[in-house]
Each structure stands twice: as structure tokens, then as C-alpha cells.
Symmetry: D2
Subunit: 85 residues, 4 copies
């Protein structure tokens, strides 16, 4: 099972900041996270990658939450802002 490293996640976040137009945040993170020394090939990471992963993660957690319900109501409201355990 693949795991994400902090180097990879920092790069995803850096790209997100840049694509969202948060230029000052992207500038700062570039240096704080040493993005220019990152081994990641940016051309292999499509725009919106972070959004995609987070969106998929939300869907997975919603799926897990519904599957663990013994309740017949399989389309429970999944609240984003509840603590995750």
C-alpha cells in the first residue's frame, strides 16, 4: 500500500498554493520546504492534484462510515467537520 511522504505532500501543497494564486504563501513554502531541491518531477503531477486526493479521501471516509453503520440508513449525512478517529 502506497504511503505519502512529507516531501510529496509538501510538493502537492506548494502546487495547490501556486495554482490557487496564493503567490506569497507559495513563495514562502518554496523556501521553507526546500521545494527547489525536491526530487519530484512537477510535470508528472497534474493541476488540482491535492484537491483530487482530498476529495477522494473524503469519499473513502464517507464510504467507511456508511459501511460501519448497522443502521439501515446507508446514506447518512457525512459531516466534514466531525473529529476523525
Amino acid at each position: 500500500m502506497v504511503s505519502i511522504t512529507s516531501v510529496e505532500l509538501n510538493y502537492l501543497v506548494f502546487r495547490y498554493l501556486h495554482e490557487s494564486g496564493f503567490t506569497h504563501s507559495a513563495f514562502a513554502l518554496g523556501y521553507e520546504a526546500g521545494i527547489n531541491k525536491s526530487p519530484i518531477d512537477g510535470n508528472l503531477v497534474p493541476p488540482g492534484a491535492l484537491v483530487t486526493f482530498v476529495q477522494k479521501g473524503l469519499q473513502y471516509l464517507e464510504l467507511e462510515a456508511n459501511l460501519s453503520n448497522s443502521d439501515a440508513d446507508v446514506d447518512d449525512d457525512f459531516s466534514f467537520l466531525q473529529p476523525l478517529d
Copy 2:
């Protein structure tokens, strides 16, 4: 199906930067994304929330990739750096 908004994702990223010690990036994003005007209650968002969502998203995509394989090899290497469609 729950969807993430950019206000929510910006908050997750802001928390990630702060928790990772990227103080200058967090400072900049706080203002660029108007975090202080965000309606999100930070007490309801646990530490490492962004990592959790991305990790779950990776697992979901790996699952989907394996399920769509007609190949008998169900434990294909899931390469993080391939383009996502």
C-alpha cells in the same frame, strides 16, 4: 456525497503548514486566504487532518486502480507520480 469547498481546503492547508512548522507560509496563507474570517471551527479539525485525507485518497485511488485491472495481479504497484485522470 460530500464535497470539499475551497474555504475548507484552504483551512486544512493552513493547519498543515502551521503544524509542520512552516511559520512563514502559514502567516502568508492566513492573510491570502482570509483564514481569520473563515467560518470553520478549528477545534473540530484534528491535527494531521490534511495528511489523513490525502492518505485515504491515495488508498482509494489504489483500490480503484486495482479493481479496474482485468489482470489477475491485484496488488499492482500504485505509482504516486503518474498522472491522475
Copy 3:
């Protein structure tokens, strides 16, 4: 004798950063020094104000240094990088 306050100096520095194209520094200082809450009317401060003041200050110190020389050599080299007492 007029004295400069830190509010005024912060504003001069903010303008210098902005005019020099140091956009990320100007962005950060704007918030760190509360420039938007500054009472200073920017229209009354000409471009290059900080450079002017520092240049004049250098000339004044050079003048004072030469006047305090008992040496006949009144055109001593004024070294910028010596400690100021």
C-alpha cells in the same frame, strides 16, 4: 528638532520594499507593521524617500567625521562599514 517615529520609518521601509519590487517582503510588512492602519498619507511621501533620507544621513555623518578631524586631511575616506558611535 524633528524625530522619526517607528510608525513613520516602517512606512518608509514599506514603500521602499514595494518600489524595489520586493513584493513578498512588502506583503508581509504590510501586515506585520499594520501599514493599512497607519495614519500616514502615502500621497505626501514621494518615491525613493527612504533612499533620500539614508543618503542625506550618510553625507551628514561624513561631514561630522571630517569636521572632527584635527588632521589637515579634510577629505578623508568615509568608510560606510565602520561602526557608528
Copy 4:
């Protein structure tokens, strides 16, 4: 007559930001102005150098303004916020 270069002024401003506790601005300027590649020996520049230069510059301009007055009133108010010509 000694002149200040932008490399030297950037360094003075960098030190001012740092000494004033404007850590995010100092961080950004460090990179935007390439301070780490600056040839200036920081040990030769005392704390508060920028304030000293600007203060001296103000005094010099006040002196010049009073000397150019044909008016007998040699202790004119020197207003900081008037445009400088």
C-alpha cells in the same frame, strides 16, 4: 562623497526588519534581495544602523531647510510629511 548602493541599503533594511521583530518580512527579504549572497560583513553594521542614518538625514534636511530661509525665524517647524524636492 560616499554613496549608498542598493545592496547596502537592502542589508540595512533587512537588519531593521530583523531587529524590529518583523520575522516574516525579514525572511522574505532575505531571499528576494539575496541577502545571504551579500558581501557585507554583518558584524561591522551595528544595531539600529538604518534608524541612525534616517535620523541623521532628517536633521540634515532640517538644517538645509532652515539655512535656505531668508526668514529670521531659524527654528522653523520641519514637517516630516511635506514632499521633499
